[in-house]
C-alpha cells in the first residue's frame, strides 16, 4: 500500500486504492476504488448512473411531503395548496410570466455559484456581485439616458457584467495574492456592497432625489426590456449562457483547465495550468453572470429602478440552485424553474388560501437539506453513491 499513513486530507487516497501487486500478473480489470462492487445493472444501474438527477428529485419530493405535513398542521389542505401553486405558476399568463421573470436571474446566480464550484471555490458573493451589476446598469441608464434604447441596453449590460466581474475579482485577487478564503471575503464584500449602494442611492450621487425614498433614477422607457408575452428578454439569454457554460466546461480547453484545478490543484500546477489564472477567470465569469442577473433585474422588471431590496435573497438562492443542480450548469435550469415557480406562486397561495408566503422558504430549505445530506444518496445507492464535494478544506488558507 502506498503511503498508508498519510494524514487525512482531500488529496489522500483511499487506503486500499493501491491494491496488492497481484494485478500486474494477471490481465483482469483493475478494481475500482475501495470495496466497489461491479456496477449494478437494470433499473438500479440506471438510477445509479443518473443519481445526479435522481437525488435532487427525491429530495424535492421528500421536501414536498414534509411541506404537506406543515401545511396540514396549519389547517390547510396541502393538495389544494400545491395545486394552486402549480396552476398559478405555470397555467396563468401572469403567473407564468412571473415564473419566467424569476427564473432568469436564478439561472444566472446558480451558474455564478456552480462555475467556481468546479474550481473548488465557493462563491457566497453572488448577492454583492448581482448588486454591483444592477447598480452599474442603473448608473449607465441614467448617465447615458439620451442614447437610443437598444444601444443603452447593450452598454448597461456590458457595464453591469464588468462591475459584477470586478466585484468578484476582488475576492479572487485576495485569494490568489493573499490567500484570503473566498467564503469570508465574499461575505464581507456582500455587506460592503449593501452599504456602498445604500449610500449611492440614498442621497448619494446616483439618488433620484425627487423620490421620497432611496432609489436610483428610473431606466428610460426606451431601454426597458418589457416582456414579449410571457417571455422576458433575459430568459433566453440565461438559457443560452447555461448551455454555453456547460459546453465550455465539457468541451473546451478552458473548461479542462478549470476542472483540473478544482479536482487536483497540484496536478494542475504540474501540468502548467495556473491556479491563479483559473481562480481569476472562474470568479470573473461568475461575477459577470451574477452582474448580468442584476442588470436584468433592473431593466426587465417594474419599477425599473435600483432600490434597496432589489436583490432580495437571490445571492443565497443561487447557492440553493447550484447545490440542487449538484454543480451541473444545465441542472441550474430545472432548479431555477423550480425555485422561480415557487417564488412566483407564493403570493397567490396567500391570496387564495391564506398560507404565509414564507412556506416557500421552508420548502426550499428542506429541499436543500435533503439534497445536501449525503445520507439519501447513500441510503438509495449504498456504496455506489458518488462522493460529495469538499469545499471547506482550504479554509483560512
Amino acid at each position: 500500500m502506498a503511503d498508508p499513513d498519510r494524514p487525512p486530507g482531500k488529496d489522500a487516497p483511499a487506503p486500499a486504492a493501491d491494491p496488492a501487486p497481484v494485478d500486474t500478473t494477471k490481465a483482469a480489470p483493475v478494481v475500482a476504488e475501495r470495496g466497489a462492487a461491479p456496477p449494478p445493472t437494470g433499473v438500479l444501474g440506471f438510477l445509479v448512473r443518473h443519481q445526479a438527477i435522481v437525488v435532487p428529485i427525491i429530495a424535492v419530493v421528500l421536501a414536498f411531503v414534509i411541506g404537506a405535513i406543515l401545511i396540514r398542521a396549519q389547517g390547510f389542505n396541502p393538495t389544494y395548496a400545491y395545486q394552486r401553486l402549480f396552476t398559478r405558476s405555470f397555467l396563468t399568463h401572469d403567473g407564468l410570466l412571473a415564473t419566467m421573470q424569476k427564473t432568469t436571474p436564478l439561472i444566472l446566480v446558480g451558474l455564478a455559484v456552480a462555475i467556481p464550484l468546479k474550481v473548488g471555490l465557493f462563491n457566497i458573493g453572488g448577492q454583492g456581485q448581482l448588486m454591483a451589476g444592477g447598480i452599474g446598469a442603473a448608473w449607465v441608464a441614467y448617465a447615458l439616458r439620451d442614447l437610443p434604447g437598444p444601444l443603452l441596453v447593450i452598454v448597461a449590460i456590458v457595464v453591469g457584467v464588468l462591475l459584477g466581474a470586478m466585484w468578484a475579482s476582488i475576492a479572487a485577487l485576495l485569494k490568489t495574492t493573499r490567500g484570503v478564503h473566498e467564503v469570508i471575503s465574499t461575505i464581507m464584500l456582500n455587506s460592503i456592497a449593501v452599504g456602498l449602494i445604500d449610500w449611492l442611492i440614498n442621497g448619494g450621487p446616483l439618488a433620484d432625489k425627487g423620490q421620497p425614498f432611496p432609489t436610483s433614477h428610473s431606466v428610460p422607457e426606451g431601454a426597458r426590456l418589457t416582456p414579449l408575452g410571457i417571455l422576458p428578454w433575459g430568459l433566453p439569454v440565461a438559457l443560452i449562457l447555461a448551455v454555453l457554460v456547460a459546453w465550455m466546461l465539457k468541451r473546451t480547453t478552458l473548461g479542462f483547465e478549470l476542472q483540473t484545478v478544482g479536482r487536483n490543484k497540484f496536478a494542475a500546477g504540474y501540468a502548467g495550468i495556473s491556479t491563479t489564472k483559473s481562480t481569476l477567470i472562474a470568479m470573473a465569469i461568475s461575477g459577470g453572470l451574477a452582474g448580468l442577473a442584476g442588470v436584468f433585474e433592473l431593466l426587465q422588471i417594474d419599477p425599473y429602478r435600483y432600490q434597496n431590496g432589489i436583490a432580495g435573497s437571490l445571492g443565497f438562492d443561487g447557492i440553493t440552485i447550484a447545490l440542487l443542480a449538484r454543480g451541473n450548469p444545465l441542472g441550474t435550469i430545472p432548479a431555477a424553474i423550480l425555485v422561480g415557480a415557487m417564488r412566483a406562486g407564493a403570493p397567490s397561495l396567500q391570496f387564495e388560501l391564506g398560507i404565509r408566503p414564507e412556506i416557500v422558504d421552508v420548502l426550499l430549505a428542506i429541499t436543500l437539506l435533503m439534497v445536501s445530506l449525503p445520507v439519501i444518496a447513500k441510503w438509495i445507492f449504498r456504496r455506489h453513491a458518488t462522493k460529495q464535494t469538499q469545499l471547506a478544506g482550504s479554509w483560512g488558507a
Partner: protein
C-alpha cells in the same frame, strides 16, 4: 489471488531462539484483513517474545503497515486474533493498545506541528493538577526520558521548527513515555541518513536489552541484518517466510523471499554513449515551502544518452530541485539551461514544451487527476495542443486514440481508457504518468522516485523504459531515495546533501558505503 502454485502461506513461524523460556509478548494467529476485494493481510500468524527485535520485511504493498495498524488498534481485523501477553481480547482503538503496553512510531509522524514537544508528549495521557495541565511535569518527563535514552530534545521547542530526525526522536520518546512492552516502528529509517539510522538501530538494541520488544518494519535488508534478532517476510499480504537465525542468512536470501523470485539487482543495459550536454544547472538556489533555503548552489550537467542518478537522503533539496527545474517552483538564484537554452524562469508548461519530461515524486498529488479518465490523464499537460485540441475546442477522438495506443505500448492494465485513473493500481497509475511523459519524446527525462509504491513487475517495466529512453538519446535525471535503484540504473551518480552536489562518481565505480557516507555529509555529526 493465489496465482502461482509455488507460493504457500508460511504459518509455522520461526522457532523461538535457543533457551526459549522467554515470555511471549505478542502472538498473532490467522489474521486477515481485506479492503473490498483487495486482501491486504491473509492468514497471518507470528509471535514476538519479550526483549526481541523482530523485523517485518516486505516490499511496498506487502501488507506490513496494515498488519501493525491492526496491532495498534487503528484498523479492525476481519478474522484472526491478536493476543498480547496472553490476552486475546480485541484491541478496540489506539487508546486500548496504549493501555496494553503497545507503542507505535508511525511512518508519518503523528505529532501536532504547532504544539511543543512537551505538549505532544502528554497528549492523550495528560496529567492534571488542580484542573490545569501539568506542563512542568511534562517538561520534566521529557528531560528524564531523553537523558535515559540518550535522545536529546528540547521540551519547549515547537514540533514544526524541528528537523525530521529530531521529530522522530520525539516520536520514539512519546512511545516510550507510556511504559511500552512492545514498540512498533513503521519504516523508521526512511527519512534518516545512514548515520542517523545507525544511531537509531543502537537505541533499538538498548531498548531490547532492557526488555522492550520491538517490531520493526522495513524493506531494507541491511537494517534487518544489522539490528533484528528474527524476521518475518511478507509478500502479497501473507507471511511467506521467516528467519530465526539471521547470522547465517544473506541479503540475497531475504531478497528472494521478499519478491518471490531472484532479484535483478542490476538492470541489463548497454554501456552509455553520452552525447551533448542537455541539462546544465549552475549555482541553483531554491527555497522550500517554509521559505528556507533547500537547494543552495547546486551544479550538475546531464548529457544526452546517460542516466545520472541523484542519491541523497530525502529532504536534502531533491524535491525542490526537481520542482524548480520543472518550472513548478521559482528559483532565487542560479541558472538552468536545456540544450543551451535558459529555462530558469520558464513555467511548468513552457519547460514541458521545451522538452522536459517529468515523472513527479508524488504521483497521487502531482501526477494524475484521479477523477479524470486515463485518456485525459495521458494528455494532462498537452490537452491544448494539436491534435488534442483545435484552438479552444478539445478533440476527444484524438485524445482517445492516443490513449488506446499508449495503453497498449505501456501495458496499462485497464478495461477502458475512459475509466477514471483513480481506480488504477499504483503501478498502473505510474505507468500512465511514465507513458505520458515518455510519449512526448523528451530531451530530458526527470524521474523522481519513479518506482515508489509500485509492484515489482511495474518496477522492472519502468526501469526498462528508462533505459530505453536513454538509449534513444534522452538525458535522464533519476532522483531516488532507494540507493539500490540509483546504483542499478545510473551511468553516473551525483550525491546531494544540504542542497548541493557533494560528490560525483561513475555508476560502475560506485561503492555503497562511500555513497552512504557522502549522503550523510561530512559535517553532519551529532
Amino acid at each position: 489471488m493465489t496465482d502461482n502454485g509455488e507460493q504457500t502461506a508460511y504459518t509455522e513461524g520461526p522457532k523461538a531462539p535457543a533457551g526459549g523460556d522467554r515470555e511471549t509478548l505478542l502472538e498473532i494467529t490467522g489474521l486477515s484483513k481485506s479492503f473490498g476485494t483487495v486482501h491486504a493481510n491473509r492468514d497471518i500468524s507470528l509471535r514476538v517474545d519479550r526483549g526481541e527485535i523482530v523485523a517485518l520485511l516486505g516490499e511496498n504493498g506487502a501488507g506490513k503497515s496494515t498488519l501493525v495498524k491492526q496491532i495498534f488498534g487503528l484498523i479492525t481485523p476481519d478474522a484472526g486474533t491478536i493476543s498480547i501477553k496472553g490476552d486475546a481480547t480485541k484491541i478496540k482503538d489506539p487508546k486500548d493498545a496504549i493501555r496494553r503496553g503497545i507503542g507505535m512510531v508511525h511512518q508519518h509522524f503523528q505529532l501536532v506541528p504547532v504544539m511543543t514537544v512537551a505538549e505532544n508528549m502528554m497528549l492523550g495521557h495528560e496529567t492534571v493538577k488542580g484542573g490545569v495541565l501539568d506542563l512542568d511535569g511534562a517538561r520534566q518527563m521529557v528531560r528524564e526520558l531523553s537523558t535515559k535514552h540518550k535522545l536529546s530534545v528540547d521540551p519547549d521547542a515547537e514540533i514544526e521548527d524541528l528537523p525530521v530526525g529530531t521529530q522522530q526522536r520525539v516520536e520514539i520518546l512519546k512511545a516510550l513515555s507510556r511504559k511500552v512492552d512492545l514498540l512498533i516502528l513503521d519504516e523508521p529509517t526512511a527519512v534518516l541518513t545512514p548515520q542517523e539510522t545507525d544511531e537509531l538501530l543502537g537505541v533499538m538494541k538498548e531498548l531490547a536489552a532492557g526488555g522492550t520488544s520491538i517490531v520493526f518494519i522495513t524493506h531494507k535488508l541491511r537494517e534487518v541484518l544489522a539490528a533484528a534478532d528474527r524476521c518475518y517476510v511478507l509478500r502479497q499480504g501473507q507471511v511467506v517466510g521467516g528467519v530465526d537465525d539471521l547470522t547465517s542468512t544473506t541479503t540475497s536470501d531475504l531478497a528472494s523471499m521478499m519478491v518471490g523470485r531472484d532479484v535483478v539487482l542490476r538492470v541489463d543495459k548497454a554501456e552509455a554513449t553520452p552525447g551533448d550536454t542537455v541539462l546544465s544547472i549552475k549555482g541553483l538556489q531554491v527555497r522550500d515551502d517554509r521559505g528556507l533555503p533547500a537547494v543552495d548552489g547546486f551544479d550538475l550537467d546531464v548529457r544526452a544518452g546517460e542516466i545520472v542518478g541523484l542519491a541523497g537522503v530525502e529532504g536534502n533539496g531533491q524535491r525542490e530541485l526537481v520542482e524548480s527545474i520543472a518550472g513548478m517552483r521559482p528559483s532565487i538564484g542560479g541558472t538552468v539551461s536545456l540544450a543551451g537554452e535558459d529555462i530558469t524562469r520558464s513555467n511548468a508548461r513552457d519547460t514541458n514544451n521545451a522538452g522536459v519530461g517529468h515523472v513527479p515524486e508524488d504521483r497521487e498529488k502531482h501526477g494524475i487527476v484521479g477523477g479524470y479518465s486515463i485518456a485525459d490523464n495521458l494528455v494532462l499537460n498537452r490537452y491544448d495542443e494539436e491534435p488534442f485540441a483545435h484552438g479552444f475546442r478539445r478533440d476527444f477522438g484524438a485524445v482517445r486514440e492516443h490513449a488506446v495506443e499508449l495503453r497498449e505500448e505501456f501495458d496499462i492494465r485497464s478495461p477502458d481508457v475512459e475509466a477514471p485513473a483513480g481506480s488504477l493500481s499504483g503501478g498502473n497509475k505510474q505507468k500512465v504518468v511514465v507513458a505520458r511523459e515518455m510519449s512526448a519524446k523528451p530531451q530530458l527525462l526527470m524521474a523522481a522516485q519513479p518506482t515508489r509504491g509500485v509492484d515489482v513487475g511495474s518496477i522492472e517495466f519502468i526501469h526498462r523504459r528508462i533505459v530505453e529512453a536513454r538509449d534513444a538519446g534522452a538525458a535522464v535525471l533519476l532522483v531516488s531515495a532507494e540507493l539500490d535503484e540509483i546504483l542499478s540504473l545510473s551511468d553516473r551518480i551525483a550525491v546531494i546533501h544540504g542542497g548541493k552536489v557533494v560528490a560525483e562518481v561513475a555508476g560502475k565505480d560506485a561503492d555503497r558505503t562511500e555513497i552512504g557516507r557522502l549522503m550523510a555529509g561530512d559535517s553532519d555529526h551529532h
